[in-house]
């Protein structure tokens, strides 16, 4: 089983969620994060003074998925979240060694 971690632009969240729902993904966890990367932060101007906002607001998605589904999840996110502009974000995939549904105690794929 895999944990797909995606960092995306906040306003892409709805589109990504729709894309994943279509794939049959039934759950995900969303965190508001701040990103630092090539996209060098918006310049905000206050009272005529430029502020380098080093950290850019991003959304982190975490989706646990079966190995087979994981690849399609990655692909779907990559398509839905892409604008072609710098700062679109990253997807990282790690292994999950165990998954449990708290309500029922089910484990493995059944837990998702």
């Amino acid at each position: 089983m895999k944990l797909v971690i995606a960092i995306i632009k906040p306003f892409k969240l709805d589109e990504v969620r729709d894309a994943l729902t279509k794939l049959g993904v039934e759950g995900m966890t969303v965190t508001e994060v701040k990103g630092f990367g090539r996209q060098k932060g918006q310049k905000e101007i206050y009272r005529g003074a430029e502020y380098n906002v080093v950290f850019v607001p991003k959304i982190k998605l975490e989706i646990a998925a079966d190995d087979t589904l994981a690849d399609r999840v990655v692909e779907a996110i990559q398509h839905a979240a892409s604008t072609g502009q710098i700062g679109d974000g990253k997807i990282f995939v790690t292994d999950i060694v165990q998954a449990v549904r708290i309500r029922t105690g089910e484990t493995g794929s059944d837990a998702l």
């Binding site: 905000e44 101007i45 206050y46 009272r47 005529g48 003074a49 502020y51 380098n52 906002v53 080093v54």
Partner: protein, 442 residues
């Protein structure tokens, strides 16, 4: 007879001598004026104005400034404003009111006396013109509260809290009391017929110049100017600015010390200047950066309000309109100059907005008060030129005194307790390190 005196006072408003007259009453009245009839209407308005001006500081200015700093320092700014308000109130009672408006005897050109120490001799029946002296005392006190609180904007995010308390208290005695006496308490500038209806000199120039001095001596914030974070809550800034705007009706229209046509016109020109300066600032930002910002819009508001303040009892609607435009342009430019040319971290632009605005209005009033510019008319004995001379003298002397006295006070306080927190505390934020609290736990 009393009524005749009142009318005289009222008519002299238009002659630009109002404060001389009022100061005279303030001093002379309690002794002799048991026979002055109290005006309930005027008393109602000045009590209301007192509430409005207190509201400007608490919470108006506190929120305005608090929203402009980073989240880790928001509480420290609110704390500064509140503690200063308390301290100024107690000092005002003890001595500062007396030093500003008391009888200075032979030193009367320079400073009041200590005859009104702890309001001694002032009773329920003491009058100041046609309002109770307690009401005059309270109204003036709210000015003494907001003035040192304005300086907070210069030293946020890095000053020691003990230094805030010591500096603000000492500053009130050494800078505010004498300047207030010179201009409004019957001192030498009042004698020259200086025009400062509601505090362009007494409030904004003193605070603005002192802000520049403290910002310079304290040094810039870590990371200034490139790595300072933007205002953490522009909505809080706007809320504070709105309260300042509303409260300023008490500040300026209350300075007529009556609910009459003079107050009404002061309110009108104040409002027009605020609105015009806001739109001016917004337009500049829109043209230069493509996006007008909320913080910019309301900074324009404050610039317009500070600038009209000294002139609000002397100019007409057109004067208010033109002062508003000037305020927007000049203060906008000064913010850049201070931060990027002078490289002084006057963090929330106290000098550029209040100091420059107050001075600008104090100088331009010499012209806009003239009927030629729709003003309420200069005194018969002065010309625009001679009036300008007096105003310029006042600006220079007051600025110089504010700068020198602040410098000396800060040197002493630095030696005594230190002005600045250490680097780690600054990085971690004053809220938790100096006050043990966090701004947002949500």
């Amino acid at each position: 007879m009393v009524r005749w005196l009142m009318q005289l006072a009222a008519s002299r408003v238009r002659l630009g001598f109002v404060f001389t007259a009022f100061a005279f009453f303030a001093i002379a009245a309690p002794a002799t004026a048991q026979d002055v009839a109290l005006s309930n209407g005027n008393t109602a308005w000045i009590m209301t104005s007192t509430a409005l001006v207190l509201f400007m500081t608490l919470p108006g200015l506190a929120l305005f400034y608090g929203g402009l700093v980073r989240a880790k320092n928001v509480l420290s700014v609110l704390m500064h404003c509140t503690a200063i308000a308390c301290l100024a109130s107690v000092l005002w009672l003890i001595a500062v009111y007396s030093l500003a408006f008391g009888n200075g005897g032979p030193l009367g050109e320079w400073i009041g006396g200590l005859d009104k120490f702890f309001l001694s001799g002032v009773t329920v029946d003491s009058m100041s013109g046609d309002i109770p002296e307690t009401v005059y005392f309270m109204f003036q006190m709210t000015f003494a509260i907001i003035t040192p609180a304005l300086i907070v904007g210069a030293y946020v995010e890095r000053i020691r809290f003990s230094a805030v308390c010591l500096f603000s208290g000492a500053w009130l005695i050494v800078v505010y009391a004498p300047v207030c006496h010179w201009v409004w308490g019957g001192g030498w500038l009042a004698g020259k017929g200086v025009m400062d209806f509601a505090g362009g000199l007494v409030v904004h120039v003193t605070a603005g110049i002192s802000a520049l001095v403290v910002a310079t001596m304290l040094g810039a914030r870590h990371g200034f100017p490139r790595e300072i974070s933007p205002p953490h809550s522009p909505g809080m800034v706007m809320t504070g600015a709105a309260m300042l705007w509303v409260g300023w009706f008490g500040f300026n229209a209350g300075s007529a010390l009556a609910a009459n046509g003079s107050a009404g016109m002061a309110m009108t020109v104040t409002h027009i200047s605020a609105a015009t300066a806001s739109l001016t600032w917004m337009t500049i930002e829109w043209m230069r950066y493509g996006r007008p910002s909320l913080v910019g819009l309301v900074t324009g508001t404050i610039a317009g309000l500070a600038t009209i303040t000294p002139a609000s009892g002397f100019v007409g609607p057109i004067g208010g309109f033109l002062l508003g435009i000037s305020a927007g342009i000049v203060c906008f430019a000064m913010v850049q100059i201070v931060k990027y040319r002078l490289k002084i971290d006057d963090s929330l632009d106290v000098f550029a907005v209040h100091g420059v605005g107050g001075a600008l209005g104090s100088l331009l009033v010499a012209f806009f008060a003239d009927t030629a510019f729709g003003g309420r008319g200069l005194s018969d004995t002065v010309t625009m030129g001679s009036a300008f001379g007096v105003q310029l003298t006042a600006v220079i002397v007051i600025a110089a005194w504010s700068a020198i006295a602040s410098f000396v006070l800060l040197k002493i306080i630095d030696a005594a307790v230190g002005l600045r927190v250490d680097g780690d505390q600054e990085v971690e934020g004053l809220d938790i390190t100096a006050h043990g609290e966090r701004g947002y736990d949500i």
